[in-house]
C-alpha cells in the first residue's frame, strides 16, 4: 500500500469516528448510520454486479429475509444473539436456494429470475399475515447490548454500525485482491476461457452469491435494529433497484463506488427532500448526469477527471476503460 493510501484511510477513519461530534445533531448522526448500512448492502450487491457481472433485482428480498428473521425470532421470545445468528444462517440459506435457481442463466435471464424470486419474498411478507403481520409490519422492542454497551442512543448505534462497516469494507478489500476475487472477475470477463483454463465457473459464481447474500444479511440486520420496525416495503422491487442504482452511480467493480452511491441516495432521500419537494426528480436528474458524464460511475469517473486535470487541461480526454467483451 502506498503512503498516500494509508494516509487517506486514516483520515477517513478519523472523520468517521468523529462524525457524532462534528455533525450538527442526532438527525444527521442517524443519516450517517443509514449511509453506512446502505453502503454495506451496496457492497454486497457490488460483489455480484461489479465483480461477477451478474445483476440481481432480488436483493431486497434477501435483505428482507434477514430483517423479518430478526423480528420473528425476537417475537418468539429468543435473545438477540440467537436472532442474529439465525437471521444470518437463514438468509444465506435462502441465498443458496436463489442462486441454485438463478445461476441457470446469466445476463437478462439471471436478472429476471432474481426479480421473480424477490417478488415472491415480497409477496410472502405482504400476505403471510400470521407471521409478518402483513402491511402493518413488525416492531422490535429493543436493540441488543453487546458486551454491556447500550445501543439505544443514536451515537452508540452509529459506532456499532461503523465497526461492522469497517470489518465489511476490510473483508471486501481482501476479497477483491485475493485469488478468488480474480477468479470471479475472470468469470465476468471471459467465462468460456475460464472454463477451458480449469476454473469451475458455476461454483465460483455460486460462492460469490453466498458472499453477497451474507453482506446483504448483515445490512438487513443493522437496518431492522436501526428502525426497530420492518414492513414489506423494504422488500419491494424499488428497494432492489435502488441498491443497484447506488452501485452503478458510484462505480460498479470498485470498493469505494458503492459507498459513495449509498451516500448519494441516502442524502438525496433524507436531507435534500426536506428542501426540495421533488427530490425524486432531482435524484433522477443526477443519475442522468452521471450516465452522460461519468458512465463508469462517480468514483472511477472522478479518478479519470483528476488525471485529466493533472495532465493539463489541454491534453486529450482520457478514454473510458476498454469494454470487457465487445464481441459478445
Amino acid at each position: 500500500m502506498s503512503r498516500a493510501r494509508v494516509l487517506a484511510i486514516l483520515v477517513a477513519l478519523v472523520v468517521l469516528i468523529a462524525a457524532p461530534y462534528w455533525l450538527p445533531g442526532t438527525y444527521y448522526v442517524n443519516i450517517a448510520t443509514q449511509i453506512l448500512i446502505y453502503a454495506i448492502f451496496a457492497l454486497g450487491m457490488d460483489v455480484l454486479l461489479g465483480y461477477g457481472g451478474l445483476v440481481s433485482l432480488g436483493h431486497a428480498g434477501l435483505f428482507g429475509v434477514a430483517c423479518y428473521g430478526i423480528a420473528v425470532v425476537l417475537a418468539a421470545g429468543w435473545g438477540h444473539a440467537a436472532a442474529i445468528v439465525l437471521a444470518l444462517v437463514v438468509t444465506v440459506a435462502v441465498t443458496a436456494v436463489f442462486a441454485l435457481m438463478s445461476l441457470r442463466a446469466t445476463g437478462i435471464g439471471f436478472l429476471m429470475i432474481t426479480l421473480a424470486l424477490g417478488q415472491i419474498l415480497w409477496g410472502l411478507a405482504y400476505r403471510w399475515i400470521s407471521v409478518t403481520n402483513g402491511d402493518n409490519g413488525l416492531n422490535i422492542s429493543s436493540r441488543p447490548a453487546p458486551f454491556g454497551f447500550d445501543l439505544g442512543d443514536a451515537s452508540a448505534f452509529y459506532y456499532a454500525v461503523l465497526v461492522v462497516f469497517v470489518l465489511v469494507f476490510a473483508a471486501m478489500a481482501l476479497f477483491v485482491a485475493s485469488p478468488f476475487g480474480a477468479s470471479l472477475r475472470g468469470t465476468r470477463d471471459q467465462p468460456r476461457r475460464m472454463n477451458a483454463l480449469g476454473y469451475h465457473v458455476w461454483m465460483i459464481r455460486f460462492c460469490a452469491c453466498l458472499f453477497s447474500g451474507l453482506l446483504t444479511a448483515v445490512a438487513g440486520i443493522l437496518f431492522v435494529y436501526y428502525n426497530q420496525f420492518i414492513s414489506p416495503q423494504a422488500l419491494a422491487l424499488t428497494a432492489s433497484a435502488e441498491v443497484v442504482l447506488m452501485v452503478i452511480a458510484g462505480g460498479a467493480g470498485t470498493l469505494l463506488g458503492p459507498v459513495v452511491g449509498a451516500a448519494l441516495v441516502v442524502i438525496m432521500k433524507n436531507v435534500v427532500s426536506a428542501y426540495i419537494a421533488r427530490w425524486n426528480f432531482m435524484l433522477g436528474a443526477i443519475f442522468v448526469a452521471i450516465v452522460i458524464l461519468m458512465p463508469e460511475g462517480l468514483v472511477p469517473g472522478t479518478v479519470r477527471f483528476c488525471r485529466w486535470v493533472r495532465k493539463g487541461l489541454w491534453g486529450p480526454l482520457p478514454r473510458i476503460a476498454a469494454d470487457p467483451e465487445p464481441g459478445r
Binding site: 485475493s178 485469488p179 480474480a182 470477463d189 477451458a196 483454463l197
Partner: protein, 245 residues
C-alpha cells in the same frame, strides 16, 4: 499408446452433421496439422476434443484415458490446453495477470479469498517465465488492451504453455499475423519441447506444412485424407478439396 485419440466422433447441429465419424490417432510428441476449407468443422472438432461441446457419439481419449464424459475444466487439469482462433483474453488486465490467471486455474489457490494474489510470488515468477518464453517479458506490466494483435496471439500461446500441457491444441495461431510476426510465432512453436504433443488448425499452408509431421484433411466434417506431409500433398483428393481443381 496415443497422446490423443478420437474414435467415431459425431456431432450434429439440428440437421447439419458437422462432425462425421471422425477418427484421429496422435502419437506422443507428434505435430499434427488439421486443414480443411472454411466450414469443414475444424473448430467444432476442437470444441469437442476440449469438451466445450458434447459429442452425439464417439469417444475421446487422452493417453488412453477416456475423457468423453469429463468436463472441459477437468480436461485442463488432466493436461489439455488450447488457444482460440478468436482471441479470448482478459482485456483490462496486464499481460502478467493474464498468464497468472492461466496458472491459477490449475492450483487450489484459485478458491482462496483470504490472501493477496499479488503476493503469490511463485505463481507470478512462473507467469513471468512463460512470458519470457514467448518474448513478451518486457511488456509484462502493460494492460492487454494496449498491445498489438500479434502480441496478443503470443499471449494466447503463453497462457496455454504456462499450464504445462501434455496435449496442446492451437486454433489458427497464425491468423491475422504479419509476415514477420508469423516468423516469430513459427520459431516459438518450433521451440516447444517434444514432451508436448501439438494439434494445430491452420490455413496458412506455407508455415503450417513446414511445422507438421502428419496432416489430416477435413471436409464437410469428415477426415478425407490422412498421412505424412508428402502423402497428403501428393494425394489428388487434397488438391481437389483444397485447391478446387
Amino acid at each position: 499408446m496415443t497422446a490423443l485419440s478420437v474414435r467415431g466422433l459425431e456431432k450434429s447441429f439440428g440437421g447439419l452433421r458437422v462432425t462425421r465419424e471422425v477418427n484421429l490417432d496422435v502419437a506422443p510428441g507428434e505435430r499434427r496439422l488439421i486443414i480443411g476449407p472454411n466450414g469443414a468443422g475444424k473448430t467444432t472438432l476442437f470444441n469437442l476434443i476440449t469438451g466445450e461441446l458434447r459429442p452425439d457419439r464417439g469417444s475421446i481419449l487422452l493417453f488412453d484415458r477416456d475423457l468423453t464424459r469429463t468436463t472441459s475444466r477437468r480436461r485442463a487439469h488432466l493436461g489439455m490446453s488450447r488457444t482460440y482462433q478468436i482471441i479470448t483474453l482478459f482485456p483490462r488486465d496486464t499481460l502478467l495477470r493474464n498468464v497468472t490467471m492461466s496458472l491459477l486455474g490449475l492450483t487450489p489457490l484459485r478458491w482462496n479469498p483470504l490472501v493477496r494474489l499479488d503476493a503469490q510470488q511463485h505463481l507470478i515468477e512462473q507467469a513471468r517465465t512463460a512470458l519470457e518464453r514467448v518474448g513478451l517479458a518486457h511488456l509484462a506490466a502493460r494492460p492487454l488492451s494496449e498491445t498489438s494483435y500479434g502480441e496478443r496471439r503470443r499471449v494466447e500461446i503463453a497462457m496455454a504453455l504456462a499450464q504445462n500441457p501434455k496435449v496442446l491444441l492451437l486454433d489458427e495461431p497464425f491468423a491475422g499475423l504479419s509476415v514477420e510476426e508469423r516468423r516469430e510465432v513459427q520459431k516459438l512453436l518450433a521451440d516447444i519441447p517434444r514432451e508436448v504433443t501439438i494439434v494445430m488448425i491452420e490455413h496458412d499452408m506455407d508455415v503450417a506444412l513446414g511445422f507438421a509431421e502428419r496432416i489430416s484433411v477435413l471436409h464437410f466434417g469428415e477426415v478425407i485424407v490422412e498421412g505424412t506431409r508428402a502423402e497428403v500433398v501428393a494425394n489428388p483428393r487434397t488438391r481437389e478439396i483444397y485447391l478446387g481443381e
